[in-house]
């Protein structure tokens, strides 16, 4: 098989001798801080940056006995759906090396799918764990907001993102979530619901009597080959005793627009820290100056470092976010996007009154060919239509392989109520 380029840094970090993950290798996405091991976020800006501390999830992996076997490739700062915006080159999809693995946690999913790691951690801001899990044919979980500590995760859009597990099976993904979930004093948004969890035990495949809601809006826009595989999987669940109901969620039509306004706005603020002074590429390196005094005043020096350090997609999102927050546009874009977020939350609440879980294709399309989406950013943004509503609503979701279409993996997404991780794990395990 061709070199997948799943890792940015291949370095082993040994964990404790015993624990639930003893003997397991875990690939960690390169936006999760590892003490003493380079953490680049897939960006030239942080090429060579070595964190002086571990993220909470990394501490928990080590305590659980895992061996971290490398830092996984990703779209730059998590901004992409293909892992092609990485400064360190694209990752290839092990199912078909002419295609992208999805993103932004593409290195994590590709490493697990190819057997280069037993398990992996990704982060999911708008689908970045579920999209690559679907495209590579593995399992990925986006936990309820607050279930997993974000301490040590380099922020992209902090009101939306969660670190999540990727694994070959539902039970292993749930077991990895058990290790990383739980409250943390260093992240005030964490909750206690994940303390002492046993999500792995819920992977019993028992969907007898479970009601599965299917939001029509998340199915009708999808590629027909994807829909066919999705429908076959739903038939399988019905044969196992699950009931299905159609539900309508008109708000999700606005989810992509709302997501990008909020994510880009938060990104413009979060990425303001990268000015080359405390860490990262500075103006002397970026502008080829002999001395910092030649780089101009701080505005000029920062702008030089940021032009050279950030790739095109990151600049695009920082600028659009700055625009959406600027005087005269804040109410028109940002405030409206927050209204849409609330509307989407209420739609999910209502749908989850009618059903135990909601099901849809994870991605509305099969894996893109390499280079296919880079030309037109807007097409790429629309591919996130089924995953972003979940982040806006702070809910848990899982992507599980539903089968193949033309030899390419198709993922099915289950969405559960807040802290309903056990329900989505149970539903997903019935498809294995």
């Amino acid at each position: 098989m061709a070199e997948l380029n799943a890792y940015i840094t291949e370095q082993r970090i040994e964990g404790a001798d015993d624990g639930p993950l003893a003997g397991k290798t875990v690939a960690v996405k390169d936006n999760i801080s590892t003490e003493g091991v380079e953490t680049t976020c897939g960006s030239k800006m942080l090429d060579g940056y070595v964190p002086p501390y571990d993220a909470t999830v990394v501490e928990r992996l080590k305590e659980a006995g895992a061996t971290i076997n490398g830092k996984a490739n990703m779209d730059e700062f998590g901004m992409g759906t293909t892992t092609e915006t990485s400064h360190f080159g694209a990752t290839l999809n092990p199912a078909d090396t002419n295609r992208v693995p999805g993103g932004s946690s593409g290195g994590s999913a590709a490493a697990v799918a190819a057997g280069e790691a037993d398990l992996a951690l990704g982060s999911d801001t708008g689908g970045s764990v579920r999209a690559p899990a679907a495209f590579c044919g593995v399992v990925g979980i986006k936990p309820t907001y607050g279930l997993v500590s974000r301490y040590g995760l380099v922020a992209y859009a902090n009101s939306l993102e969660q670190i999540g597990p990727i694994a070959p099976t539902v039970e292993e993904a749930a077991g990895l979530l058990d290790v990383i979930a739980g409250s943390d004093d260093r992240d005030a948004t964490t909750v206690e619901e994940g303390d002492d969890s046993n999500y792995a035990a819920a992977a019993d495949g028992d969907v007898e009597g479970m009601t599965i809601g299917i939001p029509t809006e998340l199915v009708e826009g999808a590629d027909e080959r994807v829909v066919e595989t999705f429908r076959d999987a739903i038939d399988d669940l019905e044969a196992q005793g699950a009931e299905t109901v159609e539900v309508s969620m008109p708000s999700v039509e606005k989810a992509v627009a709302a997501y990008y306004v909020i994510a880009m706005s938060e990104a413009s603020s979060n990425l303001a820290r990268f000015d080359g002074t405390r860490y990262g590429l500075n103006a002397v390196e970026a502008g080829d100056y002999d001395d910092l005094s030649e780089a101009g005043n701080w505005n000029e020096a920062f702008a030089t470092a940021r032009e050279e350090g950030f790739g095109e997609e990151v600049k695009r999102r920082i600028l659009l976010g700055t625009f959406a927050l600027s005087a005269g546009y804040h109410d028109k874009y940002y405030a409206k996007a927050q209204d849409a977020r609330e509307w989407i939350k209420q739609d999910f609440d209502e749908s989850l009154q009618e059903a135990d879980v909601l099901a849809s294709p994870t991605m509305p399309v099969p894996p893109f060919e390499l280079g296919e989406g880079l030309e037109d950013p807007r097409t790429m943004y629309l591919a996130d239509a089924n995953t972003v509503p979940v982040n806006l609503a702070d809910l848990p979701a899982i992507s599980v392989p539903a089968g193949e279409s033309d030899g390419l993996p198709v993922g099915l997404q289950f969405v559960g109520p807040k802290y309903g991780e056990e329900t989505i794990v149970r539903a997903a395990s019935a498809l294995e």
Partner: protein
Amino acid sequence: MSDGDEPAVTGEEVRKVADLARVDLTDEEVEQFAEQFEDVLADFETLDEVPEVESEPELVNVMRADEVEEGLSQAEALENASETEDGYFKGPRVS
């Protein structure tokens, strides 16, 4: 998503935003972004159709007393900086 009523984005506007965000752009990037931003902002415009929604955010007080804990040493905090002087970060001149 929109039907022809797209906001025109000028190169000058892109430069102004880039200036606010402290990101230098090449002329090529300015031209390309102006074109792409028109499409993306047209999508953002559709948020106009979102209805007013009543909401009661679940807010929880997470205040607690400060506790002194060990943090990074000065050397650790400085180790990733390109330029330092006498234990400080060295930045560009102010004006």
